[in-house]
Amino acid sequence: MSEILYEAPKTLEAAVALLAGAGGQARVLAGGTDLLIQMRAGRVVPGLLVDIKGIVEMTTIVAENGGFRFGAAASCMELVEHQAFAREWPGVTDAVKLIGSVQVKGRATVGGNLCNASPAADSVPALIAAGAVARIVGPGGTREARVEDIPAGPGRTTLADGEIVVSLFLPPRPARSGDAYLRFTPRTEMDIAVVGAGVNLTLDETGVCTHARVSLGAVAERALLVPEAAAALIGSKVDEGALGRLAAAASAACRPIADKRGTREFRVEVAGVLARRAAGIALDRARRKG
């Protein structure tokens, strides 16, 4: 077999130059929990691996402008062990906790979960609901993109050749904000989402929802932002009527496949149920943050 080169650059500039110089034959190596399996199976045959875990901006978790910025190559365990982050974003933390075993989370990264572009990736709907913004570098310089604009379909992203997701920024939280992520799997652990739902909302002093974002995973070719579902919550007290409209809008947004883990009809139904339950948890968390 042909030789695979390996480089571990210390700077973003060096990483971008390595990718640009490899003519599309390079792969970014973050946690490796997807890539090494794809290489072992022969599905991916890279000429060069660019290990980006030695780049400081890509591995650190920092407070920034009242929000959080975490490196796309920080491990999932580092993220879930970050107590200040978990207090502010319990829904994102719950989603990251669901990514594989302790061993897998010790290597796997949220940037990798995003760029691997599985429609069932657990962290992605939670990040979309949170309003996360990715910082991207590439041959054309630095740009920012909302997380919902990055996955394009199974295994495909909107990143241009040679671009790298550097970090993810979660915005400052107003008072009375809460988020939640729920997924359905046949088993309780170590499984892939049949449906995932993320909800993030903010209440005013009287308990009326002033801001909401709702996202669904595993019910389309990529994770979806569902503004119609969020609209059902905004202006309401997140009461039974609003939750019913949220569930209906969530189900209506689904365009799932049918496979051995769930039929189309099942996924459409469960998307509504999970969105409703996630909204209930997010509401509870928002009320406690008064």
């Binding site: 030789e3 695979i4 080169l5 390996y6 571990a8 190596l29 946690g31 490796g32 929990t33 090494l36 399996i37 290489m39 072992r40 691996l49 290990d51 875990k53 491990s75 365990m77 594989g100 075993s101 302790v102 061993q103 897998v104 010790g106 290597r107 652990e189 170590m190």
Partner: protein, 158 residues
Amino acid sequence: MAKHHVSATLNGNDVEFLCETQQTLLEVLRDELHHTGTKEGCGTGDCGACSVTLDGRLVCSCLVLGVEARGKSIQTIEGMAEGTSLHPLQRKFLEHAALQCGVCTPGILIAARSLLERNPDPSEEEVRFWLAGNLCRCTGYNKIIEAVLDAAREMRGG
């Protein structure tokens, strides 16, 4: 191109090895460093038989490249006993008969030690969740969980 020349520490001792890019840490441990206590089960990160710690972080060594271990501290089952004195987890696994074929055991011991380092007094549920990435097809898990809880008790001095 020449192979990668990697220096690391293995169970506290300096080691050097040569590896190709695609060689996993598991392959390096077993085939280059002749530490065969770490087992290969699935090779895809699902079974946990190849669990080791890398700079104190529990990982599947089949999902790490050998070259990624450069400058890092690797801990394997071979470093668990001190001389002829077994680690409390190892003794409790024997006392509770928490193994049959033994292929999963090194990985489970490494994973359990990693848990007890972080949480000396885990609940049964916490042990079960922490070890969810380690498959055992013999024991049915109950004896493993009992052994870990008993070892934790002893290590707390109770």
